[in-house]
């Protein structure tokens, strides 16, 4: 009997043995994370839904080759990232970016965020942030998403992306700078 307490390795072994419900546990555990990761790269809710599902299907079909002694998500994330960038490469010629899809929830007033003039985020600021994020490259958006929205550390980002910490810092610096510049440009 599988439930949400079943470990990844056990659920994967059961899935390989033909138990689809075991795979449902894996999907439920990583749906949000997978969807968000796709959303950072693609910037479109619908595309993020479709591509993250495609990644789960590919993962399901290749689970036999997965080494259960390793963590599931980095392996899955590689499949998802490949699908997303491949999709963008094709979409580049077909469709413009839909900035309305990159949804951001304003923090509540009781948020534990530091008190500052920016804490009360206005609709205009949300739109400006939406636009700024939409104008970033997928690589910048991906690392920004992992850092700010997932709140991953430099080391965790390095592990997920398979790059050295120094490269993470460098990419984060430029991504935040690009975001800052676009935000400032939007305010003018």
């Amino acid at each position: 009997m599988v439930d949400m307490n079943t470990a990844d390795a056990e659920a994967i072994s059961l899935t390989v043995a033909g138990d689809k419900e075991a795979f449902a546990v894996i999907v439920a555990r990583y749906t949000e994370r997978a969807y968000r990761m796709a959303l950072y790269i693609l910037g479109s809710e619908q595309d993020a839904m479709d591509l993250s599902q495609d990644a789960f299907i590919r993962a399901y079909r290749n689970l036999k080759r997965f080494d259960v002694s390793r963590p599931f998500f980095p392996w899955f994330a590689t499949i998802l990232r490949n699908l997303c960038y491949n999709f963008l490469r094709r979409r580049k010629r077909k469709q413009a970016y839909n900035i309305e899809d990159f949804q951001i929830a304003a923090p509540s007033l009781s948020s534990s965020a530091p008190s500052s003039p920016s804490s009360g985020i206005t609709v205009e600021t949300k739109i400006a942030l939406n636009r700024a994020l939409s104008e970033l490259s997928p690589q910048d958006r991906e690392i920004i998403g992992k850092f700010y929205f997932e709140q991953l550390s430099y080391r965790e980002i390095a592990t997920e992306l398979g790059i050295p910490i120094g490269t993470v810092m460098s990419r984060l610096y430029y991504a935040r700078r690009h975001l800052k510049d676009r935000m400032l440009k939007g305010e003018r």
């Binding site: 599902q53 610096y173 800052k180």
Partner: protein, 149 residues
């Protein structure tokens, strides 16, 4: 202080992971460098702003629909594969019979037969070429090239 050194230090200070010595080095630098001081201020503002922003969570409906759709796609996958294979076999066989009849028909002119055979041969060459390209891309494409929108 080089620019590369500054940008790493700036991130460490802004993210609160700099050591006491790094903070002192950084503070000393921005006292005498207007450009770096301005950039530090802008980064600090961005941090304050971004720390207050959250992405919307998936709704419960969306989460349950997610698995339902995924399950359906998993279930139907094998059905689509069998259907496609069957269709390819039937179409291939039907096409072969049609062509054989056409080629062996003495009432059809030789020029027309050559024309149809050339079109078919061209189609097969193109199909094989596309398949080869697809397989090659699948095998060697590391998806590592940068994609700019």
């Amino acid at each position: 202080m080089t620019h590369e050194h500054f940008k790493h230090l700036l991130l460490r200070v802004v993210d609160g992971v700099a050591t006491e010595r790094e903070r002192e080095e950084f503070t000393a630098h921005i006292r005498s460098c207007d450009e770096c001081r301005r950039e530090y201020g802008e980064f600090k503002n961005l941090e304050e702003f971004m720390s207050a922003v959250k992405l919307k969570d998936l709704s419960e409906d969306a989460r349950s629909a997610y698995w339902r759709l995924l399950y359906n796609r998993l279930e139907r996958g094998i059905g689509w594969i069998l259907l496609s294979l069957g269709a390819i076999l039937l179409l291939g066989f039907g096409g072969f019979m049609l062509i054989r009849e056409f080629i062996t028909d003495p009432t059809v002119s030789v020029v027309l037969k050559i024309g149809v055979c050339a079109v078919l041969a061209g189609f097969i060459v193109l199909l094989v070429s596309v398949l080869k390209e697809r397989l090659f891309v699948r095998k060697y494409d590391k998806y590592s090239k940068e994609v700019k929108l």
